[in-house]
Amino acid sequence: MSRRGRVAVRWLKLQATMMVERFLIWYWKRKAPVTTPKWDWKTSLADNVQQQMNLVMPLADTTAVGKAKAVQMVAANIDELFTGLNNIGTVHSARFDLIGEYLCILTVYDGDHEVYIRDFISVFGSVFDAMIRVVADPPPWPCELHSAEFVKWVSDHEGFQIPYNLTQMFPEEKNLENLSRDLILLLADNPYVQIGRFSGYPALSTAQIRLASGIEW
């Protein structure tokens, strides 16, 4: 068989496999649905290591025109963002990325997750208001007046960590052979996940340097 023929056969096999898999996922979602206590995997009781927030937001307009609007929106608010991130003081890094059809905010910070989101609202809530105008499923705005809804919306759009040992994610599963199916069903309903996470030691945050050195900037 020619190379093109082999590629075509492989493509056909993949399409057939995916079609069967989609049907099985549809069937098992009804037959044996899984519940995801995903919030448990985003929060940490400890305050000893760096935390991560991976906010993944689908763009409303997924064409290059829509993406250009998102780029311009971030650029137009860069002063407010940087000043706000400095003022929060517990942020080690923050990235605003376009990945495929998603606008992503990927940050590393110290401290409690909800306090962190509320800090975001208070220091640059207006930037979030601009940002959520370009996403597909925005929460009510202005976010300062709908902070509880905003916190929940962020939680729903965050790439949560799937634990390495799946028994932690599915403690009720009584048959270990079903864990892989549970994972498949979880991924079918949760497009934003983190499949590897390393939390380093807390580095010096802006707030700590200010406190120690008395230097303001």
Binding site: W28, L45, A46, N48, N165, T167, L176, E177, S199
Partner: protein, 344 residues
């Protein structure tokens, strides 16, 4: 099941392990039978002294006897088998005392008390479980289950199917069983991470008590063997002296400090990965001991032989292991194994 006296329990634990390995040789360890002895030095970090008053952390450094091992209780060496590996370390302290740390490549255990462990060991008796037939495999595919693991052709009788059935009936065995399924075969004893499984009670100079879990992390990094590679059955034994002739193997002793809500007396529980981590020091393994009989096979270790300042938690498995190791040591004429040593 009701357990009898300590001595009775130790014998039953020992016998349960031996029964899982039909070719077990009398006079050898019931598990981790094949090993290689080495020596080196442990140097504590500055931070270690802030967290723990145990003598091995006082500095400057202490000599250490080390035994690397494969988890199997068979006397036949299969370094290429998918197996747990062990790193047992004996700290020879300046005071003349000794303290042990026993770690394996599993992060969590299969049982939370001796009763459960006996059940688990019984479930792991080797049996011939044929591969599922075509219809069963098709049903598994339709159930979105993974392909069955093919038995090791060198060891077609194993207890993995029984363990899986046991874990399906006993929730506390599940995390350890899943961890065992994720095991990899290392390229070297010096390229694997080892975990102490149990929590230990650590006391600081200020009298602050913390519960901690300890791990050895290889400075060279973890490196699994290519699953398609063909290697000699004793390649780990061959590799270690060659490696140490070139350069020492280094491990960092890391501790995770228990946080709010962490279960400290249950070795089946996984802790959050965001706990406070502290490096307690570095182990430098310098040479393989020439006398493998006395420097390895007769040398015994005990997980409860700990120094004041780093003491056992109330983990029932840890306590039972201490006595079972003592029993096993006596049976095979080993040395240096009393649970708790002279501190007990």
């Amino acid at each position: 099941m009701t357990l009898g006296t300590d001595g009775d329990l130790s014998k039953r634990l020992f016998d349960a392990l031996v029964a899982d390995y039909p070719d077990h040789k009398v006079g050898t360890r019931p598990v981790h039978t094949v090993g290689i002895g080495a020596r080196g030095r442990f140097t504590p970090s500055n931070a270690a002294r802030m967290y723990c008053v145990a003598e091995q952390f006082a500095g400057p450094s202490v000599p250490v006897s080390i035994r690397f091992s494969n988890g199997s209780g068979s006397p036949v060496e299969h370094d290429d088998a998918l197996d747990v590996r062990g790193l047992a370390a004996k700290f020879h302290l300046a005071s003349g005392n000794e303290a042990d740390l026993i770690m394996i490549t599993l992060p969590v255990f299969f049982a939370k008390d001796p009763d459960e462990f006996l059940g688990f060991a019984e479930a792991g008796r080797p049996k011939f479980d044929p591969l599922p037939g075509f219809w069963q495999r098709l049903m598994d595919k339709l159930r979105l289950r993974p392909d069955p693991t093919r038995p090791d052709p060198k060891n077609p009788m194993d207890g993995s199917a029984g363990v899986l059935r046991y874990a399906n009936r006993h929730a506390s065995a599940r995390p350890g069983t899943v961890s065992a399924l994720l095991l990899v075969t290392p390229t070297s004893y010096a390229r694997a991470t080892y975990h102490a499984l149990h929590s230990f009670k650590m006391t600081s100079p200020e009298g602050i008590v913390r519960f901690v879990r300890l791990s050895w992390e290889p400075v060279a990094g973890v490196r699994p063997l290519d699953p398609t590679a063909t290697v000699p059955e004793d390649y780990l034994h061959q590799e270690l002296p060659e490696r140490l002739n070139r350069e020492p193997a280094r491990f960092v002793l890391r501790m995770d400090v228990a946080g709010q809500g962490d279960e400290v007396n249950d070795p089946t529980q996984i802790w959050d990965t965001t706990r406070l981590r502290v490096v307690l020091g570095e182990l430098v393994v310098t040479e393989v001991v020439a006398d493998q009989t006395h420097g390895c096979e007769k040398l015994s270790f005990n997980p409860t032989r700990v120094a004041p300042g780093l003491e056992c938690s109330d983990d029932p498995i840890l306590i039972a292991r201490g006595k079972a190791y003592e029993y096993s040591c006596t049976l095979r004429g080993g040395s240096g194994c009393p649970a708790g040593g002279e501190w007990r």
